[in-house]
Symmetry: C2
Subunit: 311 residues, 2 copies
Amino acid sequence: MSLTVVGSIAFDAVETEGGKRDRLLGGAAVHFSLASSFLAETRIVGPVGDDFGAAEYAVLHDRGVITDDVEHVPGGKTFFWAGRYERDVNIRHTLQTDLNVFETFEPKLSQASRDADVLFLANIQPDLQRAVREQCAGARFSALDTMNLWIDIAHESLVKTIKTVDCLIVNDGEVKQLTDEPNLVRAARAVMELGPKVVVVKQGEYGSAMYTPEGVFGLPAYPTADVVDPTGAGDTFAGGFMGYVAAHADEEISDGLLRRAMAYGTALASFNVEAFGTERMQTLTPDEVNERVQELARVTVFDASPVPLRA
Amino acid sequence: MSLTVVGSIAFDAVETEGGKRDRLLGGAAVHFSLASSFLAETRIVGPVGDDFGAAEYAVLHDRGVITDDVEHVPGGKTFFWAGRYERDVNIRHTLQTDLNVFETFEPKLSQASRDADVLFLANIQPDLQRAVREQCAGARFSALDTMNLWIDIAHESLVKTIKTVDCLIVNDGEVKQLTDEPNLVRAARAVMELGPKVVVVKQGEYGSAMYTPEGVFGLPAYPTADVVDPTGAGDTFAGGFMGYVAAHADEEISDGLLRRAMAYGTALASFNVEAFGTERMQTLTPDEVNERVQELARVTVFDASPVPLRA
């Protein structure tokens, strides 16, 4: 039942056509854990500085996220990211990245975090991800995310780390870049040859795809007219996905279970984008999440009965 | 039951990483009608030159396509398009476009074509599309495709034409450009405000989405590792979609029927890309098509039963 996530805890400054916020709670591990908290008890591991205070902890604690392994670096400043989205929110410009306490981060997991049933390695340097994976050797299901930077400058280490996890959860462009294969089916197969049995590909506004030994699953994004701030959508998706796996510890991790996990990830991500930062996730209710999964089923269903065709 | 398509009949020269062909049968109306021929009797309307011979007619006739309204322009040459696809076949470069007989094309429909139950206006100049629409005033269901060129240089005429049809079938980028709205849900709504009750958005490798008064439908593309030549995939999709509507004349055109139509369009398009030009469609069998629709259902299905969530 227990889930550990290791990754960034951040303050974000976000500009969109509709508004501007200077200091939003953010970071991959934060977005992930707020989503996963709807499904499973979640332990978050990552560094923060002196500027990370009671208000920020409260957002996590209100969702039951266990922050024992949040490492406070005295005298340090929390990771900071600033970005601007164009009117087409699919186009994002990074304006500033200050690693701050993240620069010297060496994940130290408590025994409780090491005992995790399910482990998610959010996007950090792949050597660090591998060190965490080694500390959580007993995890029943492990996954990692990464980014173009590591694919470029730490390819060998990244591949070594990918070999140690059950599942890769990355963007469309990243899996193609990682494998140097522009066709998604082939790219996913190439990842599976490295080791992971499951490849989950995030496709932004188009949805997501999953490759398992049992087949391929494709799921559109939940169609929403109101995208306020897409920051953290991918991490929220991963949180719902991994949380679902953690919540169903009594079930075999089948293709069917992972499909349901994808639906919960998709539903949760669709809420995350409806407001700035973590604002929407803070007010979200379980009923809203389940209702959106049902709506997603209505969005995707069709009758495939064969019809007479002309030879 | 009868379906009329008006649009280009062409010779294509296509270069890919895997090969090069100098003279393939192509054109929107050809790709469309080969697909729709699996579902409904199809009449193709478009001009050809002296270079369009028995071999080309045979491809259409072998699929039962009625070519009575193919207009032979004596002394003319058939529309010619040359393009190159990168290793990532989602990136296409047009190398040459010779309008030839298309330059002076004025669609003249026989009574049989005018009596069409279902009408598809493939991508041609919107004034011409509107003239055809007026000739087929009795069609039970009509749709049109267009392109960025007409959105740019004939916007007013295009909007006037869109108002006259039941359905718009265009690419993702085109519907956003047409409506100046980067969010797909809002873009589709904006089109529906112009008149069409149905908006179908083609998203290439990601699949397609449909907006009707009853809701939104999202369908991934059929996952294929073997894309040889994507030329005509969108027209093939439209052919399957419109063919399905034409084939079910006894049914109300409901959201459910149109979803099934999308599945047939998607399945047919996935075959079209497996070989150059029309080659794969020429050998395709009804059983293969129905089987792929079933596979598409397996690719998209998931269990949306609500689960206990943590408050």
